[in-house]
Amino acid sequence: MSVLNLFAMPARRVRKAPERPVPWPPGAASGGLLSRALGVAILLVGALIAWEAFDWAVLNAVVKPDPAACRALDHAGACWGVLVEKHRLILFGRFPYEEQWRPLAATLVLLGAIGAAMVRPWWGRKLAVAVVAALVAFFVLMGGGLFGLTPVGTDQWGGLPLTLLLTVGGIALAYPLGVLLALGRRSGLPVVRGACIAYIECVRGVPLIALLFAASFILPLFLPPGLEIDIALRILIAIVAFSAAYLAEVVRGGLQAIPKGQWEAAAALGLDTPKAVGLVVLPQALRIVVPPTVNTMIGVLKDTSLVTIVSLYELTGSVKLALSDPEWRAFYVEGYVLISVVYLAFGLVMSRYSAWLERQTKAASH
């Protein structure tokens, strides 16, 4: 009996949803008269709505940052002027105005690194070094204090770079932690398993806001007196602690789907537990759960919006900040349309990329 058996639990079968939509109701004549009429009606209404939207967003829109002209519209057209006027505040938050080339450069560096990391043929050690270098560059550009850049405290970071930092940092730190928690939950050692289950269930049982409040108000109480952790870092810790529990459950699903035979084969080859996990089981398990993993990551992106409740001005918070100007308060739709498009774009890129990656790895493993 090897240590391996401590890890192996009976595998559960996963069922895949059929690729094509099931005909419903079955036997209903496709293309029947009623069905066609419904389709045409929806298309007509859709076209009407699309026309109204085009009329509002383009034909009647005011692009000049002129509040009087915008109010004269009386919402018959979009007032994109609010974005022209406030785009720096929305994108970069309260970062000092003259220095805002720095968050712009930092955002581009980070986006570039993410883009490069998505190109499969480039995966390797060099890319890893480049990504780490990009992260360092991000912090130097944002925080300053080096190379003659004026220091800027994290309380003044905001907008898109803060959203990206919390998302990328949250995912990068939560993923390994989640894998460890999932392995712990599958462990045959009752103490380890119990501790992991307790952590995962407790964190998943409370809303993120409770964790954010805890990180913001009471985490300092649990640290040695005099030791102060930066608020942005405390919030990042809360996001990591929260997301890791959800990722752990996703990874556990993958581990459960690996047949016992894989463990036994690894043991037969003479691999000990860490090697069997690292070389045989995890690579397969993680590949199976790519889609739900990416869904959880998109969840992290959306969850970063909550930090505005504890007064960090990432994208959602900076829009609120911009709209607190009474001159522009009426044009909230335009502001929220902008950030919704940003979230939507990132989310769709992530989900389409994961679908593509899944096809690629499937093609490679056959």
């Binding site: 419904l38 009752p190 501790a195 409370v206």
Partner: protein, 381 residues
């Protein structure tokens, strides 16, 4: 030999395993001990003391709405109870509406009509990718900016008013007639369930329940001469008075929660129906079942097996996400805790209360879920 065989059957008792577990346990205890020590030191510096005795003391804040009759000056405990009630109120309403809308969209994603399918798919793709908080804020500001003030309230239906002050509608006036109707309905439903179970016929149970409910509502006005009184809201020059009211905060939170989670519900329903193999549809059609019985006897029971576990965790998510209330000032339990700790500085206790309220709901739900799984999960040979 006894020792050896015990270790063979319980591998976690082997020396190495015991050593690892002891190390983990000691490490965790050490970390907890360290945190506890820091907490004591920090509280001493700040002159604070842990404890829940503050719950008896009067809370100096008012809540903008609630069902437990809380008023400024009542105890903190009362305030928290009112907060929990508000959380439950908005969550239950959101769960019901999400179930209806989500099922509709989920089925729409499976119909053969390509336009309907594209519409449902587009809805799901867009709504799921925009953060819930953004949606909550947009609905809240939209209601606040587009609705007229109370003096010029919209009157979409007779006796129903919609304005910045909220949605006012006729509401039952507390009285004996309604009390009998309410408890009578509960009793009738229970009796119907029992009859249905005992006779094995759904229709019998439904009939008993229906008769009972009608009787319960008729008892007051017909036999006891206490009418089912209704209070109708009235518009005067400045505001809307009387009747039941749903605040704009409640309405916008409810709308955002419903529209957001309906997209997730749609995915759950779609996956559940898609998981029923095509052969089951064909087999049911082949034995001559009509469309209604085909769905109710063959497809839905199998689909529900797949749908119910994720549906329950979605309901839990709705409850947890209702905590976004704090962003728009709806007085749920998180908002109450937030206000309380700003007033009395008992942050540790307040966050602990919030966490335990949600944890209790989660653990109860997962217990129910496990029971369900044990009872209904597909047993393979």
């Amino acid at each position: 030999m006894g020792m050896g065989s015990a270790m063979l059957h319980r591998p976690w008792l082997r020396p190495r395993a015991v050593a690892i577990q002891a190390a983990v346990a000691l490490g965790l205890l050490a970390v907890l001990w360290w945190l506890w020590g820091n907490l004591q030191a920090n509280l001493a510096i700040r002159n604070l003391r842990l404890g829940f005795s503050f719950l008896d003391q009067p809370a100096g804040f008012a809540l903008s709405e609630g069902v437990l009759g809380y008023q400024a000056g009542d105890s903190y405990l009362h305030a928290f109870a009112a907060g929990v009630a508000n959380t439950i109120r908005v969550s239950v309403a959101a769960i019901l509406l999400t179930t209806l809308l989500g099922t509709l969209i989920g089925v729409a994603r499976l119909v053969e009509n390509r336009v309907v399918r594209a519409l449902a798919t587009g809805y799901v793709d867009i709504v799921r990718n925009v953060p819930l908080l953004v949606q909550v804020l947009v609905w809240y500001i939209a209601l606040n900016q587009t609705l007229p003030p109370g003096s010029e309230a919209l009157n979409p239906l007779p006796d129903v008013y919609l304005s910045k002050e909220g949605l006012s509608f006729p509401a039952p006036l507390h009285g004996l007639g309604w009390t009998i109707a309410g408890w009578g309905t509960v009793a009738a439903l229970a009796a119907g369930w029992l009859v249905g179970k005992a006779s094995g016929r759904c229709a019998a149970g439904g009939g008993v329940a229906l008769l009972g409910i009608v009787a319960a509502f008729a008892t007051g006005p017909l036999l006891l001469d206490t009418p089912l009184a209704v209070e109708v809201p009235e518009a005067n020059l400045f505001t809307i008075a009387g009747g039941g009211t749903l605040s704009p905060e409640f309405l916008s939170l409810l709308t955002a929660l419903t529209l957001y989670h309906a997209a997730y519900m749609a995915e759950i329903v779609r996956a559940g129906i898609a998981a029923v193999p095509k052969g089951q549809w064909e087999a049911a059609a082949a034995v001559g079942l009509g469309r209604g019985r085909l769905l109710s006897l063959v497809v839905l029971p199998q689909a529900l097996r797949v749908i119910i576990p994720p549906y329950i965790s979605l309901s839990l998510n709705i409850t947890k996400n209702s905590s976004l209330a704090v962003a728009i000032g709806y007085p749920d339990v998180v908002a109450v805790a937030n206000t309380s700790m700003n007033q009395n500085g008992q942050a540790v206790e307040c966050i602990l209360i919030v966490a335990s309220v949600y944890l209790t709901m989660s653990l109860l739900t997962s217990a129910v879920l496990n029971l369900y799984n044990r009872k209904f999960a597909l047993r393979e040979r």
